[in-house]
Amino acid sequence: MKTKLAMVIDSSTCIDCKGCMAACKVENKVPAGHWRNWIKRQEAGVNNFKKAAGKTAGHFQPGNCMHCDTPTCVQACPTGATYKDEKDGTVPVNDKLCIGCGSCIPACPYGARYRHPQKKIVDKCDFCEHRRLRGELPACVVTCPTKARVFGDINDPETDAARLVKQNKTLQVVNPESNTEPNIYYLNATAPMDWPVKAKIPTPIQLWGNVAKPLVWALVGINALGVLAMLGKQFILPDDEIQENDQREDNNEQQND
């Protein structure tokens, strides 16, 4: 079965120490003011402190690019610089093919992408590809004090990640209008759940697919049809008439000059 790299997170053990965010920042040289990963928080106030079954009143939810199965970011990309890699299930960014148009950024319901201020192309979590090539786990996974993050091939039943998914109830955090089938699985329960936004494919890209493409097709089609009709007329129906007529006119004129 094909490799499917994913992250399984027990957010109930997250203490919001920001270790994963710091590790990622250092490992991937993420510029100041931007982050490749995050910790969302749900806090209860003094008055509504209550322990819900399976959940504590306060909850911290680590996350990052979810390397979705039906990614809307890929849908927005004109050049295919970002794509779903069938080999390992990740959604990489080919930084030599990215032209920095930023269409993918609002197209992510999780806000996982940002435009790198120096490189001026898009940047996001790549599950620490360079670490994986060295045989190491992603930086965020390794650094976590409570080992809230588990990473691995969920299609390989021997991995911890696959086992956790099999043996536990898991849930994904999605926006119901943009369920991109994310590959971060939260164990048992997590909060907050309602923060991903509807994916927004930028207007120019939408116009391109919905308006410009059919419009150009129509115009080209009409012109092509016209040309074909004329070609047909020219070769199927003989019309030496024009040339003869021209010739006659020329002769007339010459005579008149």
């Binding site: 270790g19 106030g45 030599k96």
Partner: protein, 733 residues
């Protein structure tokens, strides 16, 4: 006009324009697409990569790490997978160690003050000049005011042992550390109950009460990590804190206890445990001293009475007492660490220690553990010299009932220096410590500074204390250092030895404090006392651990598989009665309450707030706020204030507010939080700096040390930092 005849373009003009076009496209070649045309180094793969061991120094935990060094540059710090004490982790601060190493604000060379203290005018000196000057100043003070005329304050560091040694051979008794702003109340209380300061076996405990300790933010290894594991395994966590910390957020139960009333709660617990005989009577008979007296004493401390004091419902107190006792001996009243809160903190902690005693959890799985044997040997050092003209005692002697001799009290020491009683102290050697930010009442510290003739600070950045010094010497970061071996207590995780060797060579002209002392010793005719290298010192330390060197070299850590439970089998407790003292005889003899007697905290004046102190996982006390990475998590401190209280003062979230106390004032942003009592406010330390050498945070936030008034625990002399009442006024939108 004939269009057909074109004037041919001259070759010269064509080439001229082609040149311009080429120039344009070369500029555009910065674009990666075109950049690929330009042959360059293959995609940033470094030529030389090395992995080196060290232990983190961003806080006191010393988590083992592996540094990745690419072409001589440290690019990442990863946890040492074999490091049990940290359960193989590296927190945000640990990862930010690289930004300490490459901090643009790092001190580079020795600096001598020009102009007035605090003006920030410096003159660069060579090391020889600096050391000559220091030796000269120290000698001058020694001659005029005796050797005890110099105060030494070592920070929490693996080379601080050399500061103590130097102070000893130099001849000064006046050594104090941050401990007297921190844990001395706890230490005093537990020493006076159990005869030793315990570690908690959190991993195996089934019930734990944390009063004030914010373990999910104030990270201690393995406690913070094991707490989460224990919770997953069904351990119940009860948190008492006036503030809804992350620990409170993740607890099973949280009570916003009225600040300073913890003793009432724990005395009431004792009342229930004894009253309902929820303790192991055989154990009590054998191991506890003073059961009768205690039983009598706590009769008055009913849960109903306690509710009136601490605002926790009586029925919850009863229930918690029963649940706690039922889980015993795998039940803990967490001793905590920073206990520098109230003038009776030692007694408060005594009450908590007493409940632990009743739970019978000493030396048991899930209970309080004795220190484990690590196995380091003391190094063979020559006898230190005796100085005839020295006074009898430390300058802060006698100002509290039972101060720790080797720690004293920084509050009392400061008072002594200002008063110049019992004798003048005129010099100050500060190593890796920042009292101007860490010690309550900054203005008093500034006053102390005025009384000093010579201040020398060894540090890595221009902290506030360095900023106010006369001579500033640059130290290397931990990644550049070779350190002696150090033993760590990891409770049920391990007992281990760590050390450091340089990951990269020292940057700029930074020198470790050990070298500084060697050089000073030369100039002060004390060379014989520093006649060794760190390697030799370490060898001596490891002499009884034959596998020590190999383990440190190959694994980055050495483990001593020493006894974990039952250490006290067949042993007596190091107390007068040789048992666990619920009733402390020595206190009685000294005129101190032998059992904690409840005293309500000082009344809060109406319209004011009590300021409480707490930690964040992003910073270590008042260091690392200026760290380029950590700064991104919190660019400034804010004042936590309850929305109801804020509304009454016309304060909205984000408004600037001014807080004033008798000690000083500060201006910072208001942060409205439901999770704090209406009578309490909170702010993080380390901001509102004086030093312009901390370029990232200078001008940001307010200084907590400026606002805190300096009270001291009556018994230990530990700072009492929760006794300050502040006024909060709106400054602007």
């Amino acid at each position: 006009m004939p269009l057909s005849v074109d004037k041919p373009i001259s070759r010269r003009s064509f080439l001229k324009w082609t040149g311009a076009a080429t120039a344009a496209s070369v500029t555009a070649a910065r674009a990666p697409v075109l950049h690929a045309l330009v042959p360059e180094k293959k995609d940033g793969i470094p030529a030389k990569v090395e992995n080196r061991f060290s232990v983190c120094d961003m806080c006191l935990n010393k988590c083992g790490l592996i540094a990745r060094v690419e072409d001589g540059v440290v690019t990442k710090l990863d946890p040492n997978p074999k490091f049990l004490k940290s359960r193989s982790m590296l927190c945000a601060r640990g990862n930010a160690g690289i930004d300490q190493l490459y901090d643009p604000d790092r001190l580079k060379y020795p600096l001598l003050r020009k102009g007035k203290r605090g003006e920030g005018k410096w003159q660069r000196l060579s090391w020889d000049q600096a050391l000559d000057h220091a030796a000269e100043q120290l000698t001058k003070i020694a001659e005029k005011y005796t050797r005890c005329g110099v105060l030494f304050t070592p920070g929490s560091d693996m080379q601080s042992t050399f500061v103590r040694w130097f102070a000893e051979v130099f001849g000064s008794y006046n050594v104090t550390t941050h401990e007297s702003s921190c844990l001395l109340s706890r230490n005093r209380a537990y020493l006076d109950t159990f005869g030793e300061v315990p570690f908690s076996d959190i991993l195996h405990t089934k019930y734990i009460i944390m009063a004030g300790a914010n373990r999910f933010e104030a990270l201690i290894t393995p406690d913070s990590i094991d707490l989460m594991t224990a919770k997953k395994n069904g351990c119940k966590l009860v948190v008492l804190d006036p503030r809804y910390t992350k620990t409170a957020a993740l607890a099973d139960e949280w009570y916003a206890i009225r600040p300073g009333t913890d003793m009432a709660f724990f005395l009431a617990l004792a009342h229930v445990i004894i009253g309902e005989t929820l303790y192991n009577q055989a154990y009590a008979a054998e191991k506890l001293y003073g059961m009768e007296q205690l039983g009598e004493h706590v009769k008055q401390y009913t849960p109903e009475w306690a509710e009136g004091e601490c605002e926790i419902p009586a029925k919850e107190i009863r229930r918690i007492a029963r649940e706690l006792a039922a889980a015993a001996p795998a039940a803990i009243v967490y001793p905590g660490r920073r206990t520098s809160d109230y003038v009776n903190s030692t007694q408060i902690r005594r009450a908590m220690a007493i409940v632990n005693g009743l739970l019978g959890n000493w030396d048991q799985p899930g209970g309080l553990l004795a220190a484990r044997k690590v196995g380091l040997s003391g190094p063979e050092l020559p006898d230190s010299p005796f100085y005839e003209d020295n006074p009898d005692d430390r300058a802060d002697h006698g100002r509290a009932h039972m101060m720790f001799d080797e720690e004293g009290s920084i509050k009392h020491m400061r008072d002594a220096i200002i008063e110049q009683k019992p004798y003048p102290v005129k010099g100050w050697f500060a190593y890796k410590i920042n009292p101007l930010q860490s010690v309550a009442n900054r203005n008093k510290t500034l006053q102390m500074i005025e009384n000093l003739d010579f201040i020398l600070t060894v540090d890595i950045t221009m902290s506030d204390t360095a900023w106010m010094s006369d001579l500033v010497l640059p130290a290397p970061s931990y990644l550049e250092r070779q350190d002696p071996a150090s033993g760590l207590q990891g409770s049920s995780a391990c007992a281990c030895v760590v050390t450091r060797d340089p990951v990269v060579p020292a940057l700029f002209e930074s020198k470790p404090v050990f070298w500084i002392f060697k050089e000073l010793a030369k100039r002060l005719e004390l060379s014989e006392y520093f006649d060794f290298t760190i390697e030799e010192y370490r060898k001596q330390q490891l002499k009884d651990l034959p596998d020590g060197e190999r383990a440190l070299r190959e694994d980055g850590v050495y483990y001593n598989p020493s006894k974990l439970y039952g250490v006290y089998e067949g042993q007596v407790y190091k107390t007068l009665s040789k048992k666990i003292e619920l009733y402390n005889q020595r206190y009685a003899d000294m005129g101190v309450d032998p059992m904690p007697v409840y005293r309500a905290p000082r009344r809060k004046p109406s319209g004011k707030f009590r300021m409480v102190v707490g930690r964040s996982a992003y910073f270590t006390h008042c260091t690392s706020q200026n760290n380029a990475l950590l700064h991104q998590f919190m660019p400034e401190n804010t004042l936590w204030i309850n929305p109801k209280a804020a509304k009454r003062l016309g304060i909205r979230d984000g408004y600037m507010v001014e807080i004033t106390s008798k000690a000083g004032k500060g201006i910072l942003k208001a942060n409205l939080k439901e999770g704090i009592r209406e009578d309490t406010v909170y702010m993080l330390s380390g901001f509102g700096v004086l030093s312009q050498g901390l370029t990232t945070i200078y001008g940001k936030g307010a200084c907590m040390a400026e606002i805190l008034e300096d009270y001291a625990d009556e018994i230990s002399g530990n700072m009492a930092m929760h006794e300050t009442f502040v006024k909060v006024t709106r400054k602007g939108a």
